[in-house]
Symmetry: C2
Subunit: 184 residues, 2 copies
C-alpha cells in the first residue's frame, strides 16, 4: 500500500467519519436536494440551486448556481442552454467520476486523468407522441472511460465497477423512482 | 380558441412538422445525446456538451456548454459546482417546464409565469455503503408548480399532466434504463 503518497484530492477520512457519525445518529443522513426552475420563455427555463438539507440542518452551497435549459435551434428553439436530457448525462458522468476518484484514493491508486464519454440513444417518436410504444426517455445509455492511473487494467476496471455500485445517479437511471408533480 | 393571440415563444408548428417528417422517414427520429466528462481533481469534474446526432445527421449546439460538478464543503470537498443529483433535479424541472410551455401554446393558453420547486429525498446510508437495504439514489422526488396563466385551475392541472405524460426526464426517473459502463 502506498496510500500515504497518493493524492487524488478526495478527503476519504472525512467521508468515513461521516459514515461513523451516521451510525450514531442515523437521522442526520436524511438529505433533501432542491432546485427552483423558472420559465423564461418558449422552451427556455433557468434552474437555480443554492440550499439543501442534511446533517440534521439547513445547508447552503458556497454560492447560488444557475443553469439555462433550452431546446436546440434544430427544434425551432433558441439553444440558450443544453437540453434537459443532456443535463442527465452530465449528472451521470459527474457522479461516476467523483466515485472513481474517491475509490481510487481509498485503494491507494494515484489517478492522472479520467475522461468519460457519455452517450444516450433516444427515439423522438416518444416525446412527440408519434408512437405510443416508444418511451419518452432514453432507450439506452453508455459510459466509456479512459483512465490513466498507477494501476493495472484489472484494478482500473474494479475502480469503475465499485463507483458504479455506489453511484446515486447510476441508481436513479437504472431503477424507478416515485416522482409526484403537483400544482399549488 | 384564441390561439392566434397567444405567444409563449414555442414554435408548435415546427414541432408538429417534425412529427410529420418522422412519419415519412422514421430513422431521422433516432437521436443520440452526448457529454464528455473530465476529472479535474477530488470530486470535481467538468462536463462538456456540444454535439448530438439527430434528424439523420451530426448536429451541434450554438456553442460548447461546460458545467462544473462537485461535492459541497460539508463533504470536505470544494463545492466548485452543484452535485450530480442536483443536476438531475435541474433536468427534471427544465423538461417539465418546457413541456408546459409547448402544451400551453398548442392549447391556446397564455402563460405569464411558471415556477417549479423541485426536491428529492435521499438517505446517505446508501451511497456511503452504510446500509445495504438503502438505495443510492432518491427515495422520492416532488415537483410543485406555481403557474400564472389565462386559464382555469383545471386547465392548468391538465397542462401539467400532459407535460408529465410526454416528458423525457420524468420517464427517465420513473422507469428503468439500461446503462452500460466500460473502460477502453
Amino acid at each position: 500500500m502506498t496510500t500515504a503518497l497518493v493524492d487524488n484530492g478526495v478527503n476519504v477520512e472525512a467521508l468515513l467519519g461521516a459514515r461513523e457519525a451516521f451510525a450514531d445518529a442515523p437521522e442526520i443522513a436524511q438529505f433533501q436536494w432542491r432546485s427552483t426552475v423558472s420559465w423564461v420563455g418558449g422552451t427556455h427555463s433557468r434552474g437555480e440551486v443554492q440550499t439543501f438539507h442534511g446533517f440534521g440542518d439547513e445547508q447552503t452551497h458556497r454560492s447560488r448556481f444557475a443553469f439555462d435549459i433550452d431546446h436546440p435551434l434544430q427544434f425551432a428553439a433558441q439553444d440558450n442552454g443544453i437540453t434537459p436530457v443532456e443535463y442527465v448525462l452530465v449528472a451521470l458522468g459527474g457522479c461516476l467520476t467523483a466515485g472513481i476518484a474517491a475509490v481510487a484514493q481509498q485503494r491507494g491508486i494515484q489517478l492522472r486523468s479520467v475522461q468519460a464519454s457519455v452517450s444516450a440513444e433516444m427515439d423522438l417518436h416518444g416525446i412527440l407522441g408519434a408512437d405510443p410504444d416508444v418511451r419518452n426517455g432514453f432507450s439506452s445509455v453508455r459510459v466509456d472511460y479512459r483512465i490513466d492511473a498507477d494501476a493495472t487494467p484489472a484494478e482500473i476496471e474494479a475502480l469503475v465497477a465499485q463507483s458504479q455500485k455506489r453511484s446515486a445517479v447510476y441508481d436513479i437511471l437504472t431503477n424507478p423512482t416515485a416522482v409526484t408533480v403537483t400544482v399549488s
